[in-house]
């Protein structure tokens, strides 16, 4: 196996770690610097705490990114892999520099995978629970997601409110997935 290829695989493994980690562990890992008292990592920890905060929108954003990136990367990767190598070679032989091959050939052909990745990540983030609970702090109007709000409603015995929110979440997810399939089909028809 070529070193560059091995490196790519290792990088992907780390990337997908975010997906396989229990989200509470992820949240704990990202907020741990805030609790660090001493040791060589304290400066870095202080910097990280500045970015994350213990309870902040920025912290939640970074944690969500780590947790949800694999959902976006996987379909995008498949989209790029599906492009026949001969088509890329033909583009180079047609005088297209690498950046123009990316812009005129790779991106349009991988577009269904790119859109699917973005919408899946969006839909998954909508229902985010563990990461928000550990990092976001569920601040109303700032870091509270629908999933946390549903949990809070159930805790307060407001089952009707929880049901309305669940239905909203379901509708939003369906809409997101519907857009994905619609865009994928449209691009599919463009190639036919």
């Amino acid at each position: 196996m070529r070193p560059a290829f091995l490196g790519f695989r290792v990088a992907l493994s780390f990337l997908f770690l975010g997906c396989s980690l229990a989200f509470s562990l992820l949240g704990l890992g990202l907020t741990a610097p805030a609790h660090a008292q001493s040791g060589p990592a304290i400066a870095a920890a202080a910097d990280l705490q500045f970015v994350l905060g213990e309870i902040s929108f920025e912290g939640l954003l970074l944690a969500s990114l780590v947790a949800n990136l694999p959902f976006a990367i996987q379909p995008m990767q498949r989209g790029f892999e599906a492009i026949p190598i001969e088509v890329r070679r033909a583009a180079a032989c047609s005088g297209l520099a690498p950046w123009r091959v990316l812009w005129k050939i790779d991106l349009p052909l991988a577009w269904p995978g790119i859109v699917t990745g973005l919408v899946l990540a969006f839909a998954h983030t909508l229902g985010e629970f563990g990461v928000v609970l550990m990092v976001g702090g569920s601040i109303p109007g700032e870091t509270r997601t629908i999933a946390i709000a549903i949990y809070d409603r159930v805790q307060a015995f407001d089952n009707r409110g929880a049901a309305v929110m669940s239905a909203t979440l379901l509708a939003l997810s369906l809409l997101a997935l519907g857009i994905t399939y619609m865009l994928s089909n449209r691009v599919g028809r463009r190639h036919a």
Partner: protein, 244 residues
């Protein structure tokens, strides 16, 4: 061959694909690289296009050196003026026939590109199909678009990798006639990769016999058939059963 005209190729490599190649192709000449499947013909074509880098080699087209491993010269494919027709045609599936050809006209001013692309499609007898995507074209039509795209960048050499292998016999004869007509308008070296001796003899000025990455003999078809250099040439051309 006079230095500075046509294409000159020398390649050497022990592995993973062994290469011991040496040939020239003059302006307006068609040279057929002929040999059995797996002989390395396509690798040679890809090396000329810049898609494969051998351990040792020198490729010169006209006054331009495209590859010289001794002086670490290795132009990327997009800077070599080599028009290539792939065996699978490799058309851009999301673009129309016209857009496929226009994509290879990046070196021309934008206002000229459409007109030039239409002219090239007329040259290869694709009229009225400019707005079709490759999936809506027949094998023969795709081949013609691929040839037009290869010519679009005003190449200094035309590389044809088994261009008639994906069409039926009737289409093949028609496309071969069209290629012969096209040749009269092109004053550049043309390399045709094929494993079909009849096709090579009918279309090319000279044949270059290749086996296991090695050029065995180069010459006119009649001369090669009359006097193959050795048994390897005879086997590569599948002449073993015929009297010489």
């Amino acid at each position: 061959m006079l230095e500075g005209s046509g294409l000159s190729v020398q390649l050497r490599q022990a592995g993973p694909i062994p290469l011991a190649v040496e040939f020239d192709c003059g302006e307006g000449e068609m040279l057929a690289l002929i040999g059995p499947s797996g002989a390395g013909k396509t690798t040679i074509l890809r090396t000329i296009a810049g898609l494969y880098r051998p351990q040792l080699g020198h490729i010169q087209c006209g006054q331009e050196v495209w590859l010289d491993t001794a002086t670490s010269v290795d132009l990327p494919p997009y800077r070599r003026r080599a028009g290539m027709v792939f065996q699978s045609y490799a058309l851009f599936p999301h673009m129309t026939a016209l857009a496929n050809v226009t994509a290879a006209l990046g070196h021309r001013p934008p206002r000229e590109r459409k007109a030039r692309a239409r002219k090239l499609l007329r040259l290869v007898n694709i009229e009225g199909l400019e707005e079709r995507k490759p999936a809506a074209l027949s094998g023969g039509q795709q081949q013609r678009v691929a040839v037009a795209r290869a010519l679009a960048r005003d190449p200094a050499v035309l590389l044809l990798d088994e261009p008639f292998s994906a069409v039926d016999r009737h289409q093949r004869r028609r496309l071969q006639r069209e290629l012969q007509d096209l040749r009269t308008q092109l004053k550049i070296p043309i390399l045709l990769v094929t494993h079909d001796l009849d096709e090579a003899a009918a279309l090319a000025d000279r044949l270059c016999v290749i086996d296991r990455g090695e050029t065995l003999q180069t010459g006119r078809a009649a001369d090669l058939l009359a006097a193959p250099a050795n048994d390897r040439v005879r086997n590569a051309l599948d002449l073993s059963g015929e009297s010489s």
